[in-house]
Amino acid sequence: MRANGRAGGRSPSSAVPWVLWIPAGLGLGLVVLPVLGLLVRSDLTRFPELIATPASLNALQLSLTTAALSTLFSVLLGVPLAVVLARSRVRGIRLLRAIVLLPLVLPPVVGGLALLYLLGRNGFLGYLLDVTAGVRVPFTTTAVVIAQTFVAMPFLVVSLEGALRGAGTRYENVAATLGARPWTVFRRVTLPLLLPALGSGMVLSFARALGEFGATITFAGSLEGVTRTLPLEVYAQSESDVDSAVALALLLVLVAVLVIVVARPRSLEGAR
């Protein structure tokens, strides 16, 4: 918007009330201190040795691939879903909106069970797939992606929907009066204006997918190189060697933060 950031040359640092720094500091502490504690307790010198096992590296690679894929699917399915939920005036849309919240609250293990009941050999969709195409989903990498998408997509949808409602429809209306079809409006106006929120939403769903454990192990199982993602590996390690589990977890965190910070394009920062 024209008046959005009138700031041209230099604008003064936006005034954050100083009282806010207190709770903000507390919040930051809540987040940082435990992780610091973890770092302090772990033997950093042993890290390379703990991490550089084939099992860990396999798991890391699998995690990154599947999380990226499920973020992609979350975007492909979740953005349209959010737009429909926020913009459509179809009757019953409120109910649909509530339904999308389901996987958010379902304990992941139960979510995995639900997927198993649906896509397993005896599930009605799984049976169909097996009989018609000979495809079996559980215990495959595909299953991991599905499980992750199932738990991660709602995060994207909910955060996008909030942003869409907040933004209103005036730019979309302008585009329509300029002769743009709904699809053009969506592609050239709605979507670009949604980028900052999409950025947040993608971070949330990528993070959720990367950390996903319960649904994955229940629906996809845990087999090295196929379905054992890093959180599953961390969990398995924690049974025998807590230190290496912690090292692995920190590796996961490091990689994730790097991916998010580095891969997050500027356009998603809202600095227009």
Partner: protein, 380 residues
């Protein structure tokens, strides 16, 4: 082609709009009216952004809205709109903002940008093409928004105060541009001669509804004027006729004329308080019916109370100076008083004001020659 035919009603809790409006192809209708009279609402209904509760809107014979069932969505109406806020897409560069409309019609990107640059040049904004909207000043943004609306080359163009933020140099140029783009080929050739060149779209005879607060826009761009008040049309007709013989105080103050409403009598108009104002009645004035007397501020002479003498002017009334405002080269005095003198304005030279030592509150006498007063039957 039958142009725009609209006859509809739109209701809000505290406001309702109810009107009949026809704009022939190539015609330009100016919509005037006080703030909140429903001008933007009217445009919204025509553009398809608002859904009327009753009635029909059709363009070129095609039904756009027939309440309550038919409602052609905005993008397939062939209607373009410049709204009161510029609302440039913040994420697109200026040239892409303007190229948006041609691109939406399927023009390839490079070609659309070319078209956009041409329109930007037309509104004297060629230099900003690569900036983002946030980097423009208010008036620059307004011009770009106008270029964007024009680049859509719609069959019906809706403009909501397109010149409000423009500077005095830009306004006449943009006004001329609008005239060039909007007037139908036939009409234009009569005015501008055969030298006038124009694109196919410029010759297409598109219809236009132009909302404005400036009578100059109405006079110079529009063929017809519609005056809205409280969601109803209170006056309409060819621009010059309406502005020359306004029948509502609002139109009169737009045109800068004095207007005194009352009942027609043999000699002129009798106002509610019983005072009479003599004037020259139009042919269609019927004594006993409502009528208005119209006269320009320059026709009003001002004397200090008790010094008016008895000369040829037949209309004399005591009054008090309400306000004094510079108005171009003259000072406009607004009187308050009884009878027809209430609210009458008079244009005086600064020298006269100084000489008469006029100040708000000064007691004065107004005098108007009957020959300068035109009496029309009044609409309401």
């Amino acid at each position: 082609m039958t142009g725009l035919r609209a006859s509809f009603g739109f209701r809000r809790p505290e406001f309702s709009l109810e009107l009949d409006l026809d704009v022939p192809p190539g015609g330009v209708v100016a919509v005037l009216g006080p703030n909140g009279s429903g001008k933007s609402t009217l445009l919204g209904c025509l553009a398809g952004l608002l859904v009327p509760d009753t009635g029909t809107i059709s363009l070129g014979g095609r039904v756009l809205t027939r309440s309550p069932r038919t409602h052609v969505p905005p993008h397939s109406r062939g209607v373009g709109m410049l709204s009161q806020d510029a609302l440039l897409f913040p994420h697109l560069s200026i040239v892409d903002n303007v190229a948006f409309a041609p691109q939406s019609r399927g023009v390839p990107k490079a070609r659309a940008r070319e078209v956009a640059r041409r329109w930007l040049a037309e509104v004297d904004a060629a230099g900003f093409g690569d900036r983002k909207p946030a980097q423009l000043s208010g008036g620059q943004a307004q011009r770009v928004a106008l270029a964007r609306a024009l680049a859509g080359e719609p069959d019906l163009l809706l403009l909501d105060e397109p010149l409000a933020a423009l500077d005095v140099d830009a306004a006449p140029a943009i006004r001329a541009l609008l005239r060039r783009v909007l007037r139908s080929a036939a009409e234009r050739s009569a005015v501008e001669g055969p030298a006038a060149e124009g694109s196919a779209a410029e010759r297409s005879g598109r219809a236009c509804v132009l909302v404005t607060h400036d009578p100059l826009d109405a006079l110079s761009i529009a063929d017809r004027v519609v005056v809205l008040a409280g969601g109803r049309i209170v006056e309409q007709g060819p621009t010059r006729d309406v502005l020359a013989a306004p029948r509502t105080p609002f139109t009169a103050s737009i045109a800068g004329l004095n207007l005194v409403a009352g009942t027609a009598n043999a000699d002129g108009v009798r106002v509610a308080s019983g005072a009479e104002l003599a004037g020259i009645a139009a042919a269609d004035v019927v004594p006993g019916e409502p009528a208005v007397a119209v006269f320009p501020p320059s026709a009003v002479a001002v004397y200090r109370a008790g010094t008016s003498g008895t000369g040829s002017p037949r209309n004399l009334a005591p009054a008090v100076v309400g306000s004094l405002e510079p108005h171009g080269a003259v000072v406009r005095l607004r009187a308050s008083g009884a009878g027809w003198a209430e609210g009458v304005t008079a244009d005086l030279t600064a020298a006269a004001v100084a000489e008469l030592e006029l100040q708000p509150g000064s007691a004065i006498e107004l005098s108007v020659k009957a020959a300068t007063i035109a009496v029309h039957p009044s609409g309401a």
